[in-house]
């Protein structure tokens, strides 16, 4: 293929309610932060164009509801994701302990072809609340290491700490994942062609 096709990366953000998923996305895409809490219902996405290693890509960032009663996502939503971002609140131990469950849920629903190498990124958010911190950086890091060296960032959506860096890593991981998928599909199509002899051979053969 001569032309580079336009890349759209699908990124999904998961985590307990109130950890700051919506805030992180808003900070990254719109550079805005609000102290107000408004529960996300269902899921919604924002897009952002970024340059990753000299390549312009469009990131479609899906924000989801942390509250169970607002979750209405089907498998189709998870499928085709290129990266999954797990967020917890460093001041709320419970939100850290939920990471495992979020990860399991994602893997089952998305059924990625190569689950062991599917890219996750973990964000410990609200690090600006230093006095209330309950989960140490070490503890979070060691969990991430255990799960196959998941990149970990300590962020604050409020003070825009590490948000840009974290999302750049997310974009890069997603792009890599997308490429891997592409290779897989090209390979698969090549095999399939022989399989379907009644497929038209004409058309532009360039």
């Amino acid at each position: 293929m001569a032309t580079r096709k336009k890349v759209l990366l699908k990124v999904i953000i998961l985590g307990d309610s109130g950890v700051g998923k919506t805030s992180l996305m808003n900070q990254y895409v719109n550079r805005k932060f609000s102290n107000q809490y408004k529960a996300t219902i269902g899921a919604d996405f924002l897009t952002k164009e970024v340059t990753v290693d000299d390549r312009l890509v469009t990131m479609q960032i899906w924000d989801t509801a942390g509250q169970e009663r607002f979750q209405s996502l089907g498998v189709a939503f998870y499928r085709g994701a290129d990266c999954c971002v797990l967020v917890f609140d460093v001041t709320v131990p419970r939100s850290f302990e939920s990471l495992e469950a979020w990860r399991d849920e994602f893997l089952i629903q998305a059924s990625p072809r190569d689950p062991e190498h599917f890219p996750f990124v973990v964000l410990g958010n609200k690090v600006d609340l230093k006095d209330n911190r309950a989960i140490t950086e070490n503890r979070a890091k060691s969990w991430c290491d255990e799960k196959g060296n998941i990149p970990y960032f300590e962020t604050s959506a409020k003070e825009a700490t590490k948000v840009e860096t974290a999302f750049l890593t997310i974009a890069r991981a997603a792009l890599q994942q997308e490429k891997d998928e592409d290779i897989y599909h090209d390979f698969k199509d090549a095999v399939n062609l022989d399989d379907v002899p009644d497929k038209k051979q004409d058309g532009c053969g360039c």
């Binding site: 107000q36 893997l107 089952i108 006095d131």
Partner: protein
């Protein structure tokens, strides 16, 4: 190219001229009248009854004098306009107007001289939106009195527009054109013209010319045809190849694709899902969609054009054919016979019917298609997507996988269950995984509130089937998702899953599944059996093997330990029972199960059962455990403290010879007895007493705890050499407000000064008097002293009394002042506490439900976390800091 096998149309030759000196030039179908214009100026009228198929029409009338000229020019165009009961006819470069019933000439439009071709359309005066044309379905409802027939005649590079009536034709306008058009068609109040190199649209009223873009630059036969619903078909080219594209009345494209042809068609028509095109080869019948798939090629000898009335006709110079559409269901059946499902479904989509009928037709076709894709083509994903689309039950889908689920062998047979290669099986499983994960999401998201109980049962059963199968799929593909799957909320059938996981040696996953479902005993039993199985045996294994085995065992042990430590207090029975497995291998790790600070549940385990367990089976570990809970977790229960005292005591009693009090064993016993307030003293006392006359000091302490001070002091005064014990005892137990304890010093003095046997111990008595003058009755004490006591000997005592009295007086004064100040401080603090407040604003949210607190009753934890009272789950643990960390006061 593939030969189309389908018969979409039956073809019947109905008119065939062999040895006739003229040929067919034009054809028109008006109701049941079939009008044929010949190359020699005659009009032939046949009867073609509706519903007749393939029958030769009878010739009703031959009008030789149709044209009022002797030159016999060919009749090149015919158009019936039943609304005005007229027939338009192009011959000799004039447009002639005839009566449609009698076919007699009404008049000739003189100004049409030179016409090459014409296009006509009915307009509704003053209602452009109601304009119509020959094929319109709305034809019968037109307001006849307002209809006007618009005629456009092409005369070289010019067009003329007339308004045609029964008596005369009014010239409306004429306008030059860039070239001579090859085709012309009305579109509303505009005209489409096709030239050699382009299409133009001309607005009649203004004369404005706009090019209609078709991305075609070459020169070819341009053709514009008006189809139903104001759609226009134009010939065009794509990459130099012939196509037909579709435009709306404004000339805007209607589809992104074009219908591809082998050659540019010279006539076009549409019928149902098909588009028909006349080419040199005959008539091509293609799907009218982006595939342009050729469905039937009707070989005819030089067909020229099509006529569409109550039936479809094709015409050549010497023949007329009827194209009779084969009923759709027959077409579908013949396609299904050769497994052309996609084609069949396209035809089905064109069939009429109620939604229910269509759904039923669709269901059967998709199902058959799915089986074909699965069994024959091995396109597993395509097959499952089809079955998903028609919402076939998962149980039915699973019947496609008899080799995966031996238990669910197809009861109702699945047609042609195939033999799959291992590679194909993997692909089939991969497709199934996608299907099942989608199904389970649907099932889990289902709103169970609106469900009848039996429905709910059915759904649960289905969930169990789906999840169990999914588990099997993960096992069969060796997917690492298995580990995640057993941890998420699932309905896997336990006994089935057990079998599958065990036979695949996925024991860790089985443990996780048990754990997930709260089947702790099963989980622990499995862990235990694995620990046992991985016991290194130096007799049968070499050193390396032993080491490897020990490593594997360590992993299982670790799993068991953390499982136990995560259990809830009510499962302490299990904790105790299974701790033995670990304790028997490694006492340190085993004991660690009960003494971990990392797992919050451990601290909440009931301790008595653990203590009893250790006492019974691991008595040597008991002391360590008890010491830990008493010192680290500040246990204050009577059972634990008594047990600890007993274990200290037993350690002492076990020794051959009673050690001195200074020995470490006695020291820790003595000290614990002295400091603990939670010991069952009489029980310990009995044990001590049963040991005989030893442990005097301990006995005294215990007597003290039992409030038997007189006995205690008798022992201390008489049997203990070191007087400091007696004094310590008094110090420990003295209480001026307790009737039993306030005269301990006096009792001791009495023992010293008036012993039951032996000489009085005046010296000891004087020491006590000197130190504790404030705790004795001075007069009584003096009275007890022997008469020969010298004043100098009691000088200390007397001085002490005096000083003490003086001191007390002053101390009371100071105390009075201090009390006053304290009272002030307390009331100040009270005011401060009362004025402490926490603001609940509009933005204050309940941490549990995340809704605003508003005016609901609420609770606040020390750290400031707010919850609604009705949302509060646990008064003593704040939800923010639930399991770890402490909840600290941060508000002022």
């Amino acid at each position: 190219m593939q030969t189309p096998e389908l018969q979409a149309f039956e073809v019947h030759p109905i008119v065939q001229w062999r040895s006739v000196p003229f040929h067919i030039q034009s054809v028109e179908l008006n109701g049941t009248d079939l009008l044929v214009g010949t190359s020699q100026g005659q009009l032939l009228v046949y009867d073609l009854p509706e519903g007749s198929v393939g029958a030769v029409p009878s010739l009703r009338l031959t009008k030789k004098d149709f044209l009022k000229t002797s030159r016999k020019p060919p009749i090149s165009q015919l158009l019936a306009v039943p609304e005005l009961n007229i027939l338009l006819c192009l011959a000799d470069t004039y447009v002639h107007v005839h009566d449609l019933t009698t076919f007699t000439s009404l008049y000739t439009i003189e100004r049409s001289k030179g016409t090459l071709l014409f296009a006509a359309d009915l307009h509704v005066r003053g209602m452009p939106q109601a304009d119509t044309h020959r094929l319109s379905e709305t034809r019968s409802t037109l307001p006849v009195d307002r209809l006007t027939l618009q005629l456009c005649c092409i005369v070289k590079r010019r067009f003329f527009v007339f308004e045609v009536g029964r008596d005369e034709a009014k010239h409306i306008k004429d306008q030059p054109l860039p070239d001579t058009p090859q085709t012309a068609v009305w579109c509303g109040r505009k005209l489409f013209f096709g030239f050699k190199r382009e299409y133009d649209q001309v607005e009649i009223e203004t004369g404005r010319v706009v090019e209609v873009p078709t991305e075609s630059t070459g020169s070819f036969d341009r053709l514009a045809v008006r189809l139903p619903n104001n759609t226009f078909a134009l010939t065009a080219e794509r990459d130099g190849r012939p196509v037909v594209i579709f435009k709306d009345i404004e000339g805007k494209p209607l589809t992104s694709y074009g219908i591809q042809w082998e050659d540019w068609p010279r006539a076009i028509d549409v019928y149902g899902p098909y588009i028909l095109g006349v080419t040199d080869k005959g008539i091509e019948v293609r799907f009218n969609d982006e595939t342009s798939k050729l469905m039937q090629l009707i070989h005819l000898d030089s067909p020229q054009f099509l006529v569409h009335g109550h039936t479809i006709l094709a015409a050549s110079p010497s023949a007329l054919w009827q194209l009779h559409p084969v009923p759709y269901d027959q077409q579908i059946d013949s396609l299904l016979d050769v497994n052309r499902f996609v084609d069949a479904k396209k035809i089905e989509a064109a069939m009429p019917g109620t939604p229910e009928e269509r759904m039923k037709r669709r269901y059967n076709m998709d199902k058959a298609h799915a089986y074909y894709e699965f069994n024959r083509k091995k396109h597993f994903k395509v097959a499952l997507d089809l079955l998903k689309g028609i919402e076939v039950s998962p149980a039915t889908v699973l019947r496609l996988y008899p080799w995966l689920l031996p238990k669910h062998t197809p009861a109702e047979g699945v047609p042609g269950a195939p033999q799959l290669t291992p590679q194909q099986k993997q692909e089939a499983i991969a497709a199934l995984i996608l299907y099942l994960t989608e199904k389970r999401t649907q099932l889990y998201k289902f709103d169970s509130k609106a469900e009848a109980p039996d429905e709910a049962d059915k759904r649960k059963k289905l969930m169990s089937i789906v999840d169990t199968t999914l588990l099997i799929c993960y096992v069969r593909t060796g997917s690492s998702l298995l580990r995640s799957f057993v941890r998420v909320n699932n309905h896997c059938d336990i006994s089935e899953s057990e079998k599958v996981l065990k036979s695949a040696d996925k024991l860790e996953e089985l443990v996780l599944l048990y754990q997930n479902r709260g089947l702790h005993r099963q989980a622990l039993e499995l862990l235990r059996s694995n620990i046992n199985k991985t016991t290194p045996d130096p007799k049968t294994m070499d050193e390396e093997e032993c080491k490897a085995m020990a490593q594997r065992r360590a992993k299982w042990m670790h799993a068991m330990i953390s499982h136990l430590q995560n259990l809830k207090p009510e499962h302490v029975g299990l904790v105790v029972e299974y701790s033995s497995t670990i304790l028997d291998i490694d006492e340190k790790q085993g004991l660690g199960i009960f003494m971990s600070k990392d797992f919050p549940n451990v601290k909440t385990f009931p301790r008595v059962p653990i203590m009893q367990h250790l006492q019974e089976h691991y008595p040597h570990l008991l002391t360590q455990y008890l010491e830990f809970v008493v010192t680290e977790w500040n246990d204050t229960s009577r059972e634990i403290h008594t047990a600890l005292a007993l274990s200290y005591l037993n350690a002492v009693l076990k020794m051959k010879k009673t050690p001195p009090l200074s020995s470490p064993e006695r020291q820790r016993l003595y000290r614990f007895l002295r400091t603990s307030d939670h010991i069952d003293a009489s029980l310990i006392m009995r044990r001590v007493a049963s040991a005989g006359d030893v442990l005097v000091e301990e006995r005294a302490v215990l007597l003290g705890q039992l409030n038997r001070h007189a006995e205690a002091l008798r022992i201390l005064a008489n049997d203990v050499a070191d007087p400091s014990f007696a004094e310590d005892y008094c110090n420990d137990n003295y209480d001026p407000h307790d009737l039993d304890r306030r005269n301990l010093y006096m009792v001791l003095l009495e023992h010293y000064l008036r012993p039951a046997s032996g000489p009085p111990k005046t010296q000891q008595a004087l020491t006590i008097l000197g130190k504790h003058s404030d705790k004795v009755n001075a007069l009584k004490a003096l009275d007890m002293l022997p008469l020969d006591t010298k004043i100098s000997e009691i000088e200390d005592f007397l001085m002490a009394i005096l000083t003490e009295r003086e001191h007390t007086r002053r101390a009371v004064a100071v105390q009075a002042n201090l009390a006053k100040t304290e009272q002030l401080q307390v009331s100040e603090r009270r005011i401060a506490i009362h004025s402490k407040h926490f603001k609940v604003t509009e933005d204050s949210l309940c941490f549990e439900c995340r809704k605003p607190i508003r005016t609901h009753a609420f609770a606040i934890y020390p750290c400031g976390t707010l919850v609604h009272l009705h949302c509060m789950e646990n008064e003593s643990t704040c939800p923010r800091h639930s399991t770890r960390g402490r909840c600290r006061l941060t508000l002022n």
